[in-house]
């Protein structure tokens, strides 16, 4: 297998943009190509990550996205999720057919209905839709189970919000910028018991792009290429009632990625993790599953301060999904943030340690049905 490098990255801020979707897409991709000093035609291939349903009322998302992504008359394709798009792009480079490849993920949350309306459409028409299943409802089941089984407290979940929104104050691209305390979180209204409003991610705009390159081109396109060293993905059963919500497929996805990257002890070897936590408690649960701490120890992990920006294993120094949630693009945002941390280009939210290996994680579906984990190395 050939190696793949991330050479350049570009992202849009999460606040509501005044551009239409096509211009919004174009600006970020133009910025990316300018940084690489490339013209649109010089890119070998474009892979778009966008979803029909999170797409401002246009179906066939790729039809509209094609122009803004600069894919006119270039080899290209589209995947339904940004993590899928990223790894598919990597595969295309690894296959030897393409040397430079642009991956872009597109969503304009401000033009979409509420996420719960849309994620309700994941549900099948016979069993889950009539009872109003959506991602928030599934997460509430999961959180209640988590609290009951391991004694995780609401305060510990609230501490995740405090930490991540605190980190987001230093990230110019983050959507939600306010300092909240644990008490603020616990005082916010219940949206779906036991989930409170501040424990749930917002709805953001977000176009993110990365330029991938093969080994022979990577050095020319940037000073510090970041290499993909491991990847894992795994799919769980569809019906949340058919699975143990606390033992999903994340360990399977993570161990594939660790094995590929040759990582034995993730807590020691990984320097920064960017995790997809649309609901505060999920950061704790996913940290357990990624083997950053023992089973049921997620609460102690956040209490210990290990995952703070100045801790031994910073998690979500960018503010994570709680500060910015462009649904389809959020996986690629994690990749980009991990890349910036490895390069030392993260500016004010750069962690103050040498970052060699970073982990990026993306998930979608009810209670984390589909997980993807990527390991990046400098």
């Amino acid at each position: 297998m050939r190696r793949v490098a991330i050479t350049q990255v570009a992202q849009s801020p999460g606040v509501e943009s005044r551009d239409n979707l096509m211009d919004f897409t174009y600006r970020v991709n133009k910025e990316l190509l300018d940084r690489a000093g490339m013209k649109r035609e010089e890119v070998d291939c474009v892979v778009i990550g966008s979803s029909d349903i999170f797409h401002s009322g246009f179906s066939c998302a790729n039809s509209l996205d094609w122009d803004g992504a600069g894919a006119f008359m270039i080899e290209g394709t589209r995947a339904e999720d940004s993590m899928f798009a990223f790894i598919y792009g990597c595969m295309r480079v690894m296959s030897g057919f393409f040397d430079t490849l642009l991956v872009t993920a597109i969503i304009k949350g401000s033009e979409n209905p509420d996420y719960d309306t849309l994620t309700g459409f994941f549900a099948d028409p016979f069993y889950l839709r009539p009872v109003g299943m959506n991602e928030t409802a599934a997460a509430a089941f999961q959180m209640r189970q988590y609290m009951e089984r391991y004694g995780i407290t609401e305060e510990q979940c609230a501490r995740v919000v405090e930490k991540n929104l605190g980190n987001a104050l230093y990230n110019p691209y983050a959507h939600v910028k306010k300092r909240v305390s644990v008490d603020d979180v616990l005082a916010s209204e219940v949206v779906c018991d036991p989930l409170r409003a501040l424990m749930c991610a917002p709805k953001s705009d977000g176009v993110a792009s990365v330029l991938l390159a093969s080994e022979k081109r990577a050095k020319k396109l940037c000073e510090k290429p970041v290499w993909l060293s491991g990847y894992g993905c795994s799919m769980d059963h569809f019906n949340p009632g058919d699975r143990d919500l606390l033992n999903g497929q994340l360990p399977a996805a993570a161990s594939k990625a660790y094995k590929m990257a040759g990582i034995k002890n993730p807590r020691k070897e990984i320097d920064v993790a960017e995790i997809c936590e649309p609901y505060a408690f999920q950061e704790l649960l996913w940290c357990e599953k990624l083997r950053f701490c023992g089973e049921g120890k997620g609460g102690r992990l956040i209490d210990s301060g290990l995952t703070r920006m100045d801790g031994a294993l910073p998690v979500n120094p960018s503010g994570g999904v709680l500060a910015m949630n462009p649904y389809v693009s959020r996986g690629l945002y994690r990749i980009i943030e991990a890349t910036l941390q490895i390069r030392g280009d993260a500016g004010e939210h750069q962690v103050d340690k040498k970052v060699k290996k970073a982990l990026a994680h993306g998930t979608h579906g009810f209670a984390g049905q589909c997980h993807s984990v990527a390991i990046l190395e400098g």
Partner: protein, 388 residues
Amino acid sequence: MGRAVAIIGTGQTKHGRRNDVSYPELVREAVVAALNDAGISLRDIEGVVSGTMPSMMEGVSDTHLYFAEALGSVGKPVLKAETCGSTGQSIAHCGFYWVASGAADIILVVGSEKMFEGDGQATMTTVADPWFTKPFSAGAPMVFTMQSMEWIYRFGISEEKARDAAALISVSNHDNALENPYAHIHMKVTLDEVKNAMIITYPVRLLDVCPSSDGACAIIYASEEKARKICKKPAWIKGLGFRGEEFFYGESNKSIWPSATEAAKEAYRQAGIRDPLKELDVAEVYNPFTYQEMIFYECFGFCPRGEAPDYVLKGTFLKDGQLPCDPSGGTLCTNPIGATGLIRLAEAALQVTGKAGERQIEGARLALSHAMGGIDQFNGITIVGSEL
């Protein structure tokens, strides 16, 4: 250039109005058929690629989540690729690159659609933008009809001749479909019936148009090493190309159709084909409308620009002609959109491996498969051969 990749198994459902199964059951039917054809089990599959036309066609979005059990993808890596009507070719390419990159050895690719559970034309109308294109778009026929007229006038083809050729295409496709047990429409039609059928949008009449179908298709890819072990006669992937053009319909030249032309050129370059009409033995062209099929013939270099009707009337593309096109009856008789592009590839693979039954073209060794999607925007091509 990556590793060699082969198709070791294909599976199709019976297409048509499938009220007897739910959507996941339909998908499962194709998966099981492909596994049986390849003689392997789900345990051997290392990853699954799934795809449909816009997920909302059936009112369920992100269907790869819903199909987790049906696809047998629980505990396995998944990818989902989608490019409207060309989805079938896009997922085929996705599976190809997955194996070619060395990330996996055996990959299952599944395309599916259950159009009788939704309103296909209403869904397709939401592809166009709401300000400039949507006010005069009425589902798929608007786009393709405008393109047909543009092509007829751009090359000065007489409308009668184009009409006659389109009628012949319709008749021959319907005849071919009679020999295909999977096809949706099984009926014999005559030239006069086609020419006098109800007008949909001038010049397109009812028998020039594909149906809406329920159906699914699955194919299994394997790396060279595995394919030689598992399969006696695999179909090797020789070349592939995909191109897309601009979103606004009015800005592009649809009579020349650059995306179809360039995608074909790319696939020919990889397969080392110089004269497609001579070298190809069979073509599975995506033909939801008869007039489109003629434009594709020109784009793929089967004949000079503006001369497709002459070649059609000469019988070049009939089953006993120089280059048989759509011996399966094509998209014109079966169109479960998300699966259609993959069905074209599966049929091409059946042809080059000699497994196409009654619709077999004698001695077929090199076949082209194709799908088109978007507002006439996207074209994907995959060429398969019986030898590496």
